[in-house]
């Protein structure tokens, strides 16, 4: 690891920054429940499956990320670690607040995931050094939202991602690191394993390893001819970015999705066909709603099921696809087409742990379709569209599931388990925290 006080140089032009929340889910929980501040806390994935977020104190205990909960449950209890189910209403609200708070600090902001955003701005003062700017951003988000963030600053996205990691890994950086003003970034790049470079897939990193390219610096310096032959423009772009040349543009408008997937694990294994059908109907109607919100229709639906990978019986995993003659986002049409697949996939002796639906071949709602099979006259199609729109509005206003298809069943036993769910403390008036006067 290089020394913490590197030789610096002035920098000019545009900087790319990556700002992300530290232990985002765990941090959100502590914002609305101050008894969690300074405590070891872990947050579990859907159905209380695996550990997906750990507070700094839980990290310090050596609790690994991604561990299945049931494996460490008693150890966590012994150590007094607090456990929470994923509270997506809270995290989504805090995420939206965080992005709104970051917006004025940069010239452009690209929301990359629930807890991270790329930004761009010009280097103007202090010889171009943005470290104190980064500290101000950090201070503001911490003060106004109670969320700790890390700020990585560099000439390109790939390097900003890397600088962000360095900002977090070394305490002396104080959560902010500007790689763009470092005279010689090579020692930093050398400390980053090839697998940790943003944009490197598992396949490409294995290929690099075979050639002795084991870290970010080696990738930056390898002959580009070989890289181009192996992975074309994508590889070259990565290399350029590592050399400090920005060539992955900011995506300011989220690109329209080409696929949409809804899948969940069941709280208890499903052993009967009617239950599987209800689950799939529920996912189908959620997916249809997503499509309508995105202004898209689907041309093909894949339904998949699998058993638990943890129990002893042989693993069972199946999928089936149906193509639609006419792309649609009408819940009734999707149900009629895809529900029969459940019968194909169901196996009476294989308890299922998870199912999902994948919408493929998505097309825009306004895409004209010339087809011999027009199933409904225009007037009726219009009525169906307004019915769907009304259902979506009602569900949005009165909460998910206010209006639903009977095929989805009522309070089914397989529904998601979140036994340690905290309250929707920032989005529901009945669940706001108490302040003692």
């Amino acid at each position: 690891m290089p020394s913490n006080d590197p030789a610096t140089r002035p920098a000019t032009g545009r900087a790319t920054v990556l700002i992300d929340g530290n232990n985002f889910y765990a941090s959100c929980e502590a914002v609305v429940d101050p008894s969690l501040i300074g405590r070891a806390l872990v947050v579990l994935s859907n159905n209380d499956g695996c550990i997906v977020s750990r507070s700094a104190e839980a990290r310090a205990l050596g609790i690994p990320m991604g561990t299945p909960y049931f494996k460490v449950r008693s150890a966590l209890e012994r150590q007094g670690v607090i456990v929470r189910s994923s509270n997506y209403a809270l995290y989504a609200d805090m995420s939206q607040r965080m992005m709104a708070t970051l917006e004025p600090w940069v010239e452009e902001l690209e929301i990359y995931s629930i807890d991270e955003a790329f930004g761009q701005l010009h280097r103007l003062r202090d010889g171009g050094d943005l470290t104190s700017w980064g500290q101000q951003v950090r201070h503001t988000v911490l003060r106004q939202l109670g969320l700790p963030v890390a700020v990585g600053i560099a000439p390109s996205k790939v390097l900003a991602k890397l600088a962000n990691k360095l900002a977090k890994s070394s305490a002396s950086h104080g959560g902010v690191f500007d790689l763009g003003t470092v005279l010689d970034p090579a020692p930093y790049l050398e400390a980053v394993p090839i697998e940790d470079v943003w944009g490197i897939g598992r396949k490409l990193s294995r290929w690099c390893r075979l050639r002795g390219v084991a870290n970010a610096k080696a990738l930056r310096d390898m002959p580009n001819g070989e890289l181009r032959r192996k992975c074309g423009v994508v590889g070259l772009r990565l290399q350029h970015e590592l050399q400090g040349v920005a060539c992955i543009p900011m995506e300011l408008v989220p690109s329209s999705k080409r696929e949409t997937c809804v899948s969940r694990s069941f709280s208890q294994p499903i052993r009967e066909l009617p239950q599987l059908k209800q689950a799939i109907a529920t996912y189908l109607s959620r997916a249809a709603e997503k499509l309508r919100r995105q202004g898209q229709r689907t041309g093909a639906i894949t339904v998949f099921v699998r058993s638990s990978p943890f129990n002893g019986t042989s693993f069972y995993s199946r999928a089936a696809t149906v193509s639609l003659a006419l792309a649609s986002n009408d819940t009734a049409v999707l149900l009629a087409a895809a529900l029969p697949l459940a019968e194909k996939l169901f196996h009476p002796h294989k308890p299922l742990q998870k199912a999902g639906v994948l919408m493929q071949q998505l097309v825009g709602e306004d895409t004209l379709q010339h087809h011999l099979l027009v199933p409904l006259p225009e007037e009726q199609q219009q009525r169906r569209r307004s019915l769907m729109a009304t259902i979506d509005r009602l569900n949005k206003r009165y909460g998910q599931g206010s209006v639903q298809w009977a095929a989805c069943g009522f309070t089914p036993p397989w529904q998601m388990q979140r036994s340690r769910l905290s309250r929707a403390a920032t989005t529901r008036l009945g669940e706001i925290p108490i302040v003692y006067a």
């Binding site: 101050p34 920032t426 108490i434 302040v435």
Partner: protein, 150 residues
């Protein structure tokens, strides 16, 4: 089409609620008629009073809390009130603030007295708490409004 029928039944139940809600969001005047003279009132279109606008200056740093207890009664804040807290406001002497004391949200007035910061109740029965290293505390946000149901 059993499922469709079900959807419609629920729609009708919710329909009444919906039209009621919508009425309070509608503009007081609108230029919906294209023909004829423009309405002289069009320059004065108002969208109605929005309490969010009136009470919340910084939406992303504003949080709601429910008040429990009577130690702030002298400041007009009562048990059960809805408290609006803006975490972007500056902590200054005299402000009513939410502090985290030993892991719980606490509502008090922040006061600086002879160089020493205190949290003071607005009730004679509660003593002031000096903010020093002996106390596990942090200042969380400044209360901007308390909403009291009559």
């Amino acid at each position: 089409m059993d499922d469709l029928a079900l959807a419609w039944i629920r729609l009708e139940v919710l329909g009444a609620l919906r039209s009621e809600r919508k009425s309070c969001l509608r503009p007081l005047a609108s230029d919906s008629v294209a023909a004829g003279f423009p309405s002289p009132a069009d320059d004065y279109i108002e969208t109605g009073i929005d309490l969010n606008d009136a009470l919340i200056r910084h939406p992303s740093s504003t949080f709601f809390l429910r008040v429990s207890g009577d130690s702030m009664r002298g400041a007009g804040i009562q048990h059960g009130d809805l408290l609006i807290v803006d975490r972007s406001l500056e902590f200054r002497s005299g402000k009513i603030v939410v502090a985290v004391i030993e892991g719980a949200f606490t509502l008090k007035r922040l006061v600086q007295h002879q160089g020493q910061w205190h949290l003071e109740a607005a009730h004679p029965a509660y003593p002031a708490t000096p903010l020093n290293d002996d106390l596990d505390h942090c200042l969380w946000g400044v209360a901007s409004h308390a909403i009291h149901a009559l």
